[in-house]
Each structure stands twice: as structure tokens, then as C-alpha cells.
């Protein structure tokens, strides 16, 4: 205290907050390096594929015409400057980047602001001289720094690719602000909800609604005003590389600031480790699914599965609604048909071709579900909860085996659900799509999901700390290779490395026995090896 007497109050405040900032930066380190690197790499790939596929003014003019149609507006957004490199990248890849960064920011924010409290680690920090509110402000500033870094990476990647520096900076700023706004939602949810899990659930629901609002706004000019209700609409309205409307940055920058201020204001109204809602944990449990290891594995996975089921059903239904629009559009435009042929779509059977393509895109979603569920099994071990079971009559092989089997079953259920939801959406709009075709298209990528789930089990057995990182990384890399490999003209030997490249395009092609047996068999082998490795290693903490 005496040493502080002469120092300016601000200097003291900064000094006592520095450890909080350092710890937050340390906890966010991996994502803060990976996110900018991946986003910048994606931008460069987009630039390259644009310059390769649309080399001259004529092809760019054609693209400008076909991109501004109802179906593509709904899927990708309203094009503003697709005849320029930057404008194309923003239109073609912007929504993927914005959504991915949003999910990352949401999870990272909830983990830093709430997960640390749930584990009790935050109390070590809060017992120090920094007030809870001051700690929260510091953590929010560190998060903001991480998002600024990501925005800078985007601006530099685009600017250096020759897209125009001023517009690149505008778009980088917009993307950083959009990411920060989603993080702001998570920060508020982290104050309101009683646990990290529920904060993630609430913020993810909000994120989904905000993105759907943008999709709805893009469906027709009549409801275009909806775009002004969501940050995902604001970033479209920046019209980067077109009109460059710098003023629209105002709501984008204001949203995270206001949300962060709200979170800080709410922080003083709650206790550490508690939320503003859900005070009482007194509760007579229903006592279901506690009888044996398999039932209990199902019990611990069920709430998450229900969340995924809801999201998959809504998304697949939206895809179903779009089928007819897309088909009508392609039928009326030979140019876009050629682009689709590039992706391997058979133009003679358009509805089923489009459905086959959509089923393929869901494959990565099912694979990620599998990897993350095995990651949750790893969390059970790392937290020490698995010990209670494995110190009783549950064997290692039984415990891990049941979790792997239930994950595979849940993945199959999710794909059937996706097929039924897509069929329902298509039926509502009067598309000519059979239920078996719809379900078949969603079941087709299952072998790939089994493969990546099996690889996750192998990671869990052999290198448990990398269970999620490695398996999710492989699944995403494999999917991107298949997605971008053909347009980039990569050789067949490289394309064959992607598991998704070997899937049958159901319902255009019949369900292929060979890829199913090969991919599924590899997955089963990897899972068996993972179980064997798990039986031979020590249980380890985090």
C-alpha cells in the first residue's frame, strides 16, 4: 500500500490488472494464433480460386449476373462487387468466415469468463487485489485484442493479395467488430446464466437466430430491412470493395461496446460462480438412465445431443426449403450450371443432384459431432469423473466402447433426422423430392463421420490431450480439400486423400458398398486400436 501512495491511481490500476491480462492472454493463446492464421489462409485460397476461375472481365461480368439471383442471395448473401477480387471473396467466403469466427468467439468467451469460474480457478484471481468488475473489463479487453488481431490478419491477407487496401481495412475492421459482437453476447450470457454450459446454449441460440435473420433478409427485397436487425446484416451492408460504406461501421463497433458494458454492469449484480437466473439447485432428479455403464453414457450425452438435433433439424429444413429455388434457378441459367458441373453435379437430374450436394456438405457436421463427443469423453477423464466408474466394475474397454458406439448411433440418428427435416422443407415448397432420396443423401456421408469418430477414439487412446485438436483438424482439413480441391484443379492423387472425396453422391449414385466398407472399416479399426491403447495407458488429468 505504501509503495502505491505516490503513484497515480491509473498506474496502480494498470499494475494490479496486468497479471489478469497476462493469464487471459495465456488461456486464449492457441485460438488467438490459429484463428487469424486459418482465416488469412482461407482468404488467400479464395483469392486464388477467383483469379483462376474468373480470369477475365467477361467471366467476371457473367458471375456478377448469376450471383444476384434469389437462391444465391439466400445462400451466400447479396453480391455488391463480385467483379472485383475482394468483393468476390467477401460474398463467397464472408458468411463462412463470419459464422466460424462467431462460433469460436462464443466458445472462447464463455470459457474464459465462465468456464474458469465453474472450475473454481477464477477464485484464485478474484481473491487478489483486482475487483471482479475490473477483472472482467481486463478480460474483455484481451478478447478484443485477439479479435483485432484476426481482423488485421484478414485485412493484410486481402490487401496483400491486391484487393485494395482501404476496402480490405474496412472489411477487416467489420469482421473484427462482428466477432466482438458475438463475444459480447456470450459475455452477457455468462453473467445471466448459472453455468458455462447454459451460457453457451443461450449465446449459441442467439447466434443462430441472428444468422437466420440475415438469411431471411436476403430472401427477398421486401424484407431486406431485416438486415438492419443483425450484425450479420450490418457486415453485408458495409458493401466492402463496392460502395465502402464506412458509416455502417458505427453500429458494428457500437454493438460489442454496448454488450460489453452491459456484461460489466451485470457482473456487480451477481455472485462469483452464480448467474442472475437459475438460483436453486434443489431438485429431485428423475433418476433415469443410471442403471449400467451404457445407460449412464447415454444420460451424460443426451442433453448435448438434443441441442445438436434441434440445430441440425432447423438447418436441414432451411436447406430443404431452398431446394426448389436453387433448382429453378439453375434450370434457367446455363452459366451457373457449368459452375455446378465443376462441383460434380449431374445437370440432367437437378433436384437429386442438388440434394446429393447438400447431403455431402452435412458430412463434415456429422464428423465434427463425433469428434466433439469423444472430446467430451476425454473431459470426463481429465476432470477425474471417469475414475468413479473405472474404480468400480466398469472396464476401460466397456466405458470407452459404449461411448464410441453411442456416438456412432447418435450420428446416424442425426443424419436420419436431417434427411427427414430436409424432405419436410422441400415438401412444403412443393419440390419433387422423395423421402428415401432425402434421407439417403444425408446417410451417404456417414462412413466419413464413422472414420473421423474412430480417429478421435484412436487419439483418445494414444495422445489423449490432442483428442479434439487432432481429430477435428483432420476432419476440417479433409473437408476443405474436397470442397476446394476440384475448383483449384488439384491432382487426383491429392483429392483421394480426402475421406469426403470417396463418398457416393446419393441419390444420384447408388449407395456405394466399397467406400462404406473401406471408410467405415478404417474407422472401426482406428476405434479398436484406440480402445486397445486406452487399456494400456495411465489415466491422466488435464
Amino acid at each position: 500500500m505504501t509503495a502505491d501512495a505516490g503513484a497515480a491511481p491509473v498506474a496502480v490500476a494498470i499494475r494490479i490488472r496486468r497479471p489478469v491480462a497476462a493469464l487471459s492472454a495465456r488461456l486464449l493463446r492457441r485460438g488467438s494464433v490459429l484463428a487469424p492464421a486459418l482465416v488469412a489462409a482461407y482468404m488467400v485460397v479464395e483469392v486464388y480460386s477467383y483469379q483462376r476461375n474468373y480470369p477475365d472481365a467477361a467471366s467476371r461480368q457473367r458471375l456478377a449476373e448469376v450471383s444476384d439471383t434469389a437462391a444465391l442471395r439466400i445462400l451466400q448473401g447479396v453480391p455488391h462487387a463480385v467483379q472485383t477480387t475482394g468483393g468476390f471473396v467477401v460474398w463467397d467466403g464472408g458468411w463462412v468466415i463470419g459464422l466460424s469466427l462467431g462460433v469460436w468467439a462464443l466458445l472462447a468467451t464463455a470459457r474464459l469468463l465462465r468456464g474458469e469460474e465453474d472450475t473454481g480457478r477464477a477464485e484464485l484471481l478474484l481473491a487478489g487485489p483486482v475487483p471482479a468488475r475490473g477483472a472482467l473489463i481486463t478480460e474483455l479487453l484481451v478478447l478484443a485484442g485477439s479479435f483485432a488481431l484476426t481482423g488485421a490478419a484478414v485485412a493484410v491477407a486481402l490487401g496483400a493479395s491486391g484487393a485494395g487496401w482501404s476496402s480490405s481495412i474496412l472489411y477487416g475492421l467489420g469482421l473484427a467488430a462482428l466477432t466482438a459482437a458475438v463475444a459480447g453476447l456470450a459475455a452477457v450470457a455468462a453473467q445471466v446464466m448459472p453455468s458455462r454450459r447454459r451460457a453457451v446454449g443461450a449465446a449459441a441460440t442467439a447466434l443462430g437466430l441472428l444468422f437466420l435473420l440475415r438469411t431471411a433478409a436476403n430472401s427477398s427485397a421486401r424484407v431486406g430491412w431485416l438486415r438492419w436487425l443483425t450484425p450479420y446484416g450490418w457486415i453485408d451492408e458495409l458493401r466492402a470493395f463496392g460502395a465502402d460504406r464506412w458509416l455502417v461501421l458505427l453500429p458494428l463497433l457500437a454493438a460489442p461496446v454496448l454488450l460489453a458494458a452491459g456484461a460489466v454492469a451485470l457482473r456487480d449484480r451477481r455472485d462469483a460462480g452464480a448467474g442472475l437466473v437459475g438460483g436453486s439447485d434443489r431438485h429431485v432428479g428423475h433418476g433415469w438412465l443410471l442403471g449400467n455403464p451404457a445407460a449412464f453414457a447415454w444420460r451424460t450425452t443426451q442433453p448435448v445431443l438434443l441441442g445438436w438435433a434441434a440445430a441440425v433439424a432447423v438447418y436441414s429444413a432451411v436447406l430443404g426449403v431452398l431446394v426448389k429455388t436453387v433448382v429453378d434457378f439453375i434450370a434457367g441459367d446455363p452459366t451457373y450450371g457449368r459452375i455446378l458441373t465443376d462441383f460434380g453435379v449431374d445437370l440432367t437430374d437437378l433436384t437429386r443432384g442438388v440434394v446429393a450436394l447438400l447431403g455431402g456438405t452435412m458430412g463434415v457436421v456429422f464428423a465434427l459431432y463425433g469428434c466433439w463427443r469423444i472430446g467430451a469423453v476425454r473431459d470426463e477423464e481429465a476432470a477425474g469423473r471417469a475414475e468413479h466408474l473405472l474404480a468400480r466394475t466398469v472396464t476401460r474397454a466397456g466405458w470407452l466402447g459404449w461411448h464410441a458406439l453411442l456416438t456412432a448411433t447418435a450420428t446416424a440418428l442425426l443424419s436420419v433426422l436431417a434427411g427427414v427435416a430436409m424432405w419436410t422443407g422441400a415438401a412444403v415448397t412443393g419440390a419433387d423430392l422423395g423421402l428415401t432420396d432425402a434421407v439417403g443423401s444425408m446417410l451417404a456421408p456417414l462412413p466419413a463421420a464413422v472414420l473421423f469418430t474412430g480417429l478421435a477414439v484412436l487419439c483418445f487412446g494414444a495422445i489423449p490431450r490432442l483428442t479434439v485438436t487432432l481429430s477435428v483438424g483432420l476432419a476440417v482439413a479433409s473437408y476443405l480439400l474436397e470442397l476446394l480441391g476440384t475448383p483449384l484443379g488439384l491432382p487426383a492423387a491429392v483429392l483421394n486423400l480426402s475421406a469426403f472425396h470417396h463418398l457416393s453422391s446419393v441419390p444420384v449414385e447408388p449407395f456405394g458398398l466399397l467406400p462404406t466398407v473401406a471408410l467405415g472399416g478404417l474407422g472401426l479399426l482406428a476405434a479398436a486400436a484406440g480402445v486397445a491403447a486406452f487399456r494400456r495407458r495411465d489415466l491422466t488429468g488435464s
Partner: protein
């Protein structure tokens, strides 16, 4: 081997460069309450996790009730376990956790469960996320005791319990031993060990330095002599029977084995104002064992060797 509740032969565990447990030979009889002591990092938790086969031994073997530890399905039918760090499923209530753990132990005695809930004063209809450390500990204790297993492996079982509950734990543990169940517990609480345990093992840097009955730990011929003086005292460390000398206040505290004759002969003529002799406390005995890592290895090692020689 038959008839022993816990047996290890040359049990060894190496984590990379670190030898956590080094050639452990243990034998615990049914109905025994066995205390497992040692400073932090001595390898107590590692040993318990090796007994459960949660860790795989680098060398050596282990049996629980005659069943090899690696046959977990058969061995664990005999076991109840309280881990050193109790983590529970936050979304489940205490009762749900006890239900699933009871089902997985294979034996559920509803009446005994109700009795234990009552005796440990645990409200089971609360999600475990809102339990205090003490309440989580109670859940783990009840889960371990309610199945009446043959062997209870308890890693610091009273951590976080209040003194009343600590006493209740001791009663429950004694009742279990009375029924022929074996209680193997690691602890830092010497009072608890003194009250409860029939035998103790002392572990230091992964090696056993002592296994003996509690009364043998405090040998009858050991004593502590405290002398106060108002002048200089002669050097005492070479006197026969003296094992340790440390300055306290205006005098010395001398640890002594056997006859005090040579010590008194050396002190004759010194300006002594007060002389007091007493039995060493359990704490003083343990400190002799524990201090090795920090301070005088030769002396502690000597003492340890002498004690092992006695048992």
C-alpha cells in the same frame, strides 16, 4: 498370498524421469485399518491409483483379495474408493450420483444408504454443482462405504470435513473394520491416524521407510530431554544414545534412545536451570521421517534404518 486383503510385490511406477513409487512391498490383512503416510509428493496417491490399476505399474504386481489388480472387473468387485480430488457430474443430484455408483458397484443396500445419508447429514436432492468440497467428499465416502466392499481405498478421506463429520467417518470406518472390511487410508492428520489405524506405512520419495504397528512407532525407550541453562552447554551430538539435538529458547531439545546415563554424565557440571524428560509426540516422530528431504538426510536415514531394523 491367500487371505491378504492387499498385497504388492516390487510395485514400481516411473513417470518419465521421475521414479514415483519404487519397489513397494506391502501386505495388509483383512479387518485391518492401515494408515499410509508421507510428505506431499511421496507417492501415496500414485500407489492407491496403482492398486486400482488406474495407473499401470512399470514393474511389480498387485493383488486385491487375492485377485490380480489388472483383472479390474473381478478385483473391483471387492473395492470401494474415495479419490483425493472428488469431481462429480455437476448436472446430477447427489442421489443420482449415489444411484449410478451403487449400481456400478454391483451391491446396493438401500437401508444402509439411507442410514449413511443421515449420519453424514447430506442432503442428496441437490445438484452436485452447488455442493461444497465437504459435501462432495461426503458423496464419495457414502458411495464407497454403502456397498460394504471388502477393501476400502481412501485417499485423504476427511479432506474438507468438519470435526463432527470427521468423527463420524472414524466411527463408520471402525464399524467397517469390525465387520472384517479392510480400510487403507492415506492421511496427513496424525490425530486421525493415531485414533484409527492399527498399522502404518511411511512412504518417502516413493520408498517405504517404515511399516509397523502404531505402538511400535513410538518405542518405549525413546525420550525427549529438554534442558534449560544460563550458560554454555557442552557439545552433545557424539554422546551415546543421542539421535538429535536442536536449540530451543534458552536451552536444547535432545532426542534420546536407550539409557539417559551417558547424556547425564556429559551434562554434569553444566549450568542447568531445568531438566525435563518426556515421551516423544507422534508428530515429532513423523517429522524425523519427513524431514529427510529438506534437512539432515544422514540422521533421518539412520533413524529410519534403526526403526526398520526393529520391526
Amino acid at each position: 498370498m491367500s487371505g491378504e486383503a492387499i498385497r504388492t510385490e516390487g510395485l514400481t511406477k516411473r513417470f518419465g524421469e521421475v521414479l514415483a513409487v519404487d519397489g513397494l512391498d506391502l501386505s495388509v490383512q483383512p479387518g485391518e485399518i492401515f494408515g499410509f503416510l508421507g510428505p506431499n509428493g511421496a507417492g501415496k496417491t500414485t500407489t492407491i491409483r496403482l492398486l486400482l490399476h488406474l495407473l499401470r505399474p512399470t514393474a511389480g504386481r498387485t493383488w486385491l483379495m487375492g485377485v490380480p489388480a489388472e483383472d479390474v472387473e473381478a478385483a473391483h468387485r471387492h473395492v470401494g474408493y474415495v479419490p483425493g480430488e472428488v469431481a462429480l457430474w455437476p448436472q446430477l443430484t447427489g442421489r443420482e450420483v449415489l444411484t449410478v455408483l451403487g449400481n456400478l458397484s454391483g451391491r446396493v443396500d438401500a437401508a444402509f444408504l439411507a442410514e449413511l445419508l443421515d449420519r453424514f447429514r447430506l442432503d442428496p436432492d441437490v445438484r452436485t454443482r452447488s455442493y461444497s468440497k465437504g459435501n462432495r467428499q461426503k458423496v464419495a465416502l457414502i458411495a464407497a462405504f454403502m456397498a460394504r466392499p471388502d477393501v476400502l481405498l481412501l485417499d485423504e478421506p476427511t479432506a474438507g470435513l468438519d470435526p463432527l463429520m470427521e468423527a463420524e467417518f472414524q466411527t463408520v470406518a471402525r464399524e467397517a473394520a469390525g465387520r472384517g472390511q479392510t480400510v487403507f487410508l492415506s492421511s496427513h492428520l496424525l490425530d486421525e491416524v493415531e485414533d484409527l489405524c492399527h498399522r502404518v506405512a511411511i512412504l518417502r520419495s516413493g520408498r517405504l521407510v517404515e511399516v509397523c504397528a502404531l505402538e511400535d512407532l513410538r518405542p518405549l525407550d525413546a525420550s525427549v530431554v529438554e534442558v534449560s541453562a544460563d550458560g554454555p552447554l557442552p557439545a552433545l551430538d557424539r554422546v551415546a544414545g543421542v539421535t538429535a539435538v536442536e536449540p530451543v529458547g534458552d536451552g536444547l531439545r535432545i532426542s534420546l534412545t536407550g539409557s539417559p546415563g551417558p547424556l547425564l554424565a556429559r551434562l554434569a557440571g553444566a549450568p542447568i536451570t531445568r531438566l525435563r524428560s518426556r515421551q516423544p509426540s507422534l508428530e515429532e516422530i513423523f517429522l524425523t521421517y519427513y524431514e529427510d528431504a529438506a534437512g539432515s538426510p544422514e540422521l533421518a536415514g539412520e533413524v529410519a534404518q534403526r526403526r526398520v531394523g526393529r520391526s
